[in-house]
Amino acid sequence: MTPPRHPGFDTLSLHAGQRPDPVTGARATPIFQTAAYVFQDTDQAASLFNMERAGHVYSRISNPTNAVLEERIAALDGGVGALATASGQAALHLAVSTLAGAGSHVLASRSLYGGSHNLLHHTMRRFGLDTSFVDPRDLDAWRAAIRPTTRLLFAETLGNPGLDVLDIPSVAQIAHEAGLPLLVDSTFTTPYLQRPLDFGADLVMHSATKFLGGHGVAIGGLLVDGGSFDWERSGRFPELTEPYVGFHGMDFQEESTVAAFLLRARREGLRDFGACMAPFTAFQLLQGIETLSLRMERHVANTREVVRFLSSHAAVESVNHPELPSHPDHALARTLLPKGCGAVFTFEIRGGRPAGRKFIESLRLFSHLANVGDAKSLVIHPATTTHFRLDDAALRVSGIGPGTLRLSVGLEDHADLIDDLAQALRASQKI
């Protein structure tokens, strides 16, 4: 039987969640730059507040421009809905604080973006939430570290800084056997390269600041609910399956069989913590998502050229990229990331810190800054910037060498990128 044709990824990137404005005919998504929305009458007001009707009340909780972005990322990731947040950090905080609180435990990969690690290891601990960290490749370690108080498993699709490829099916199975959901940070891969929900993850978060926007002009986060986790069957989430006095006594799973998590996250976390996205940011991120496929294809193609160049260069000790057979997750990457492993990776320069410093300072096209996922190519040398306080031994513990450089390959002509890298590598070896 021929299955029916569903709209494809590129079509959804352009159309999901939006149609021409019925009042003005505007084809682009209008920026609804308003804090609040006029009620038709007192009864409609009360119904909106009580979730008897759907609609907008106040832009901290929902906004029509943000809703288009939320529906679009949900469509691309295959989720039941999403929440737009002030940043990627806010998306992670919202996910964690919706499911866990004082006395509960989060089990996370140890290969995380530094900001995520800070939030879980230091800041949330101050609020009574305990997080333990495991090697994401060690499935037994995941299994062994689950406690009765665990509420969430968390990892990145491609870990930081070693680009560990997350074995989503296996980690999701471990989570599900324990009645727990798996949250995946999909920032480096975007739904174009991988849809973690299709592999068994339950929740997905993005720093939309990165490849989703693609332009490096806006900070934003997205949290997607896969809608397949049964909170009631798990029995560990009274926040979602018992009446909540903080919202009209609502039992969220009774209200929505498949979208209870998102309802609670919006009606509690977004309402109370207030880390909402500005509608102008949502508009900018939508502009980015419209061309996500085209850009990711080019990011991946350029990255392959750059990886090939660096791999055979005398001034380069090693290149760490899952598409190389030397990477420990090469085989896994071929099954889970067949379209490519993104555009962020590290390599080791010969000559340690001084060579790294000289290399960075000699680059002309690559921008030296603390970000990834821009249309422009970016570079950072952790040993002299983000991790400058650490000595070489301490760096090693974080999986970073004195000569480790991280590139985020952009959309320029790859020949120009390679020329720039070549001249900077030459300069780095002359010291």
């Binding site: 299955p3 149609r19 529906e71 469509a75 609502m250 498949v258």
Partner: protein, 263 residues
């Protein structure tokens, strides 16, 4: 709210308020492979506007126990028994798709129990293509994908269900996936086999409302013409641009139609 019925738990959503039998009762019946939550934006509103709401999970669906019942007639009798078990004399029945046939048959068999009928996204006969019926038996994911595609009118739904930021098509797919294996085939086979529609219409004397989506690919408005011709007291409301999933796609328009009808 949970009640014992036929030796199984029957689970009923009461709209976020305790059930008060002294108020006029509106009972919602979901369609194939669904549960009460498809009525989120109608049931909760009416429960907070002077009605006693019962949004059921049919046997074997959602939180209700037991096996799915194999025919529209059996489901209709189950609804009547449920009303009896809860102690409700008369209720307005609102049904969607398969649930609309159950409501119609229930009104024909148990006229004393039914004060009015609202049939949403309805058709008679509700024939299911051979291809789809086979898929519901042999390949549920393929069947779910087909039904989900045919249930929605487009790629953008305002204001979203249950609220802004929800992707309605995936909510619907996940809800179908949440039902137990085998339920989908029983439901679609029951729709396909139901032959008593016109005879039921002839026996129904209460007021009937048909709510139809102009872009419904599963039960298009023309497929309800036989029903409207056979009913004695019928109003038809067509909702412009709505697909099969009217409750999710145009919740306010549906609510307005129900309220005008007296729900």
């Amino acid at each position: 709210m949970q009640v014992e019925l036929d030796g199984h738990a029957a689970w009923v959503y009461t709209g976020g308020k305790p059930f008060d039998p002294s108020l006029p009762v509106v009972l919602f019946i979901h369609g194939a492979s669904h549960d009460h939550s498809v009525w989120a934006l109608q049931s909760r509103y009416l429960a907070h506007h002077g009605r006693a709401v019962l949004a059921v999970d049919l046997p074997g669906h959602g939180r209700s126990g037991g096996m799915p019942l194999p025919s529209i007639e059996a489901l209709a009798d189950w609804i009547a028994r449920l009303l009896g078990a809860i102690g409700v004399e008369r209720a307005m029945l609102v049904g969607h798709s398969m649930g609309s046939l159950v409501a119609l048959e229930c009104a024909a068999r148990h006229p004393q129990r039914v004060s009015a009928l609202a049939l949403v996204s309805t058709a008679f006969p509700m024939r299911v293509s051979e291809e789809l019926l086979t898929a519901t038996r042999d390949d549920e994911p393929a069947a779910q994908a087909m039904v989900n595609l045919w249930s929605h009118s487009g790629l953008a739904q305002y204001p979203g269900n249950p609220g802004p930021g929800f992707w309605v098509a995936r909510v619907n797919l996940r809800l179908m996936q949440r039902q137990r294996p085998g339920v989908m085939h029983v439901d679609f086979a029951a729709c396909d086999a139901y032959s008593n529609g016109l005879a039921a219409c002839a026996r129904v004397s209460c007021p009937v409302l048909l709510v139809l989506g102009t872009r419904d690919a599963m039960t298009p408005p023309r497929a309800a013409k036989g029903l409207s011709a056979a009913l004695s007291d019928v109003r038809v409301v067509e909702i412009e641009g709505a697909g099969h999933a009217i409750m999710a796609e145009q919740p306010d328009a549906l609510l307005a139609a129900l309220e005008r009808f007296g729900a």
